[in-house]
Symmetry: C2
Subunit: 347 residues, 2 copies
Amino acid sequence: MRPTIADIAREAEVSLATVSRVLNDKVEGVGAGTRQRVKDIIARRGYAPCGAARGLATGKSRAVGLIVPDIADPFFPPIIKGAEEALRSLGYGVFLCDSDRDLAKEQEHVRILLEKRVDGVLLNSTASDCAAQLDVLERHGVPCVLLDRTVEGRASAPGVYADNRGGAARATGHLLDGGARRLCFITGPAELAISGLRRAGVEDAFRARRLDPATILHALGDYSVASGERAVEALLGAGRRRSPFDAVFAANDRMAIGAMRALKRRGLRVPEDVEVIGFDDIELATLVDPPLTTVAQPAFEMGRRGAELLLRLIAGERPRKRTIVLEPTFVVRGTTRKRHSVRREST
Amino acid sequence: MRPTIADIAREAEVSLATVSRVLNDKVEGVGAGTRQRVKDIIARRGYAPCGAARGLATGKSRAVGLIVPDIADPFFPPIIKGAEEALRSLGYGVFLCDSDRDLAKEQEHVRILLEKRVDGVLLNSTASDCAAQLDVLERHGVPCVLLDRTVEGRASAPGVYADNRGGAARATGHLLDGGARRLCFITGPAELAISGLRRAGVEDAFRARRLDPATILHALGDYSVASGERAVEALLGAGRRRSPFDAVFAANDRMAIGAMRALKRRGLRVPEDVEVIGFDDIELATLVDPPLTTVAQPAFEMGRRGAELLLRLIAGERPRKRTIVLEPTFVVRGTTRKRHSVRREST
DNA sequence: CTGTTAGCGCATTCAG
DNA sequence: CTGAATGCGCTAACAG
């Protein structure tokens, strides 16, 4: 049988309360000698306090939920690591929930997390239309921080995300200033607000240069390599005409890499014939040939900052800044051509 | 305030026990009418039973821990998904623990999991020398299933892993039968038994063909792309001599990809000058150019089977087969030359 | 500085 | 078929 606080108390010949006090590092209320004696016994017996009992008594579980669309997508692991690191140091457990890009599974996860009585939730929803989840959590008094997401009508919901619009504008600007004129933009699922934001950024860059956004070729992807590949293939068509675009900007690296594959198969050279830029900066971006130019998101930091914000919310604080915007970094690698002249500043 | 079972009971005008019965789907003891009425109220109030209280009363938390060395390594996410899927359907929560390939952090995680009173642990340790963790868990009566690991002196510890030795032998045999004679084997960290097993498989293949295993060039890596790159660079040396090996077999895909990069930089063609084979079959293997020939591990299934085994252990069963060996699949892609017939021909 | 006591929310006897 | 009582292990007043 696992020892309980009573066993420890008996062996140390003190009361339960005293053991509880040393367990919780209460500075006052326990003499140094007693404290040490109790600690020794705890260590020797390998006693581990029961979280469930503690939770019942305190109303806190020291556990949080972390919901992501798909951990197999290399963009997410760094986020998870960042969050986990910040949380573990404080003894928090992290319930990982992979929603498989399925809103129903996501809701199911929320339900389970509620039963687990998590103290808070980090939500990287599979859809920006996740107001329902936010409502449920709020009704139960469970704080929630959005990760890499903004939700319509919930602009004030606590969240951490990158400046998607600005990042997209910067990348597009680089393409336009380098001479590209026919851009193919591969966007992500429509149900994600970030898709719209990145698209808006692309258009911002066009307008800032008095170019017509209507000339942009749009393609729809789902963030997979295959979808990027298909999008470009479809646009290239069957004929042997030249490419209808001279640059591709994909809403994430995986689709950009898919695009590169399709381009290569058609005998189009990157970056000589067509330039390519991705978004995220996953490890894979450095491994393809040529290495991918991309808009790097500080994923690890996003997770860490999100966890820190959630912790403050759990502690009952009302932070002034409930939304944190991280700056993406534009990383020039091998899928864009060298720029000789000084380029203008983008929006 | 979140509703408790008492609130539901009061509103339904029944006792706590009755509500508890419908909550736990006890077939007997509640009339159909009463049951439905209670269910309706539960749904309407959005009542979620408190896991902590339940855990205290039953001694079960319906949560398990899953410890992995590094979720940013693409080999692990599929394992996690497999485990998570099997567990979620039963209402289990999964505490994800990333040990950062650090044994101390891993032990810290075990400690936290013990406090969370997890019902079991899936352990993909960062070192095969994890008997200490197994001991602690056993002492606390927490079942544990090893994932992708075998532990010395604990051959009977429940676990799920691939036939590493056989897989390595198969790949090496393919190389040798294709004419390769000077093999470079990039192994993983010495603290992992699988490193030794894969090495043994390589030697098996040599001996089976009456070739001397002593001619194998060994290099040490740490499963990172960079380490594979460095290993090959070191072996190639500074000179302009020809390559001292005609084939590279790396203990995982990432190192194999690093090796390919180093080879390419030195102007060596893959597979014409040097053949390359990896291990795992991560998504990346299909994306590099040429696509990587590799020994595919059924990672998703490993996670799923591990979870299923753990569930049985938690239920108190004593399965006959406590260790499950999965068969890897040898996948021939572009980094090995075509085999026309069984021939012997040195490069 | 230390001990006593009363719940926390639920499952589970045992009665009825 | 249903209800009342007990305790799971711990924290948090409150006493002393």
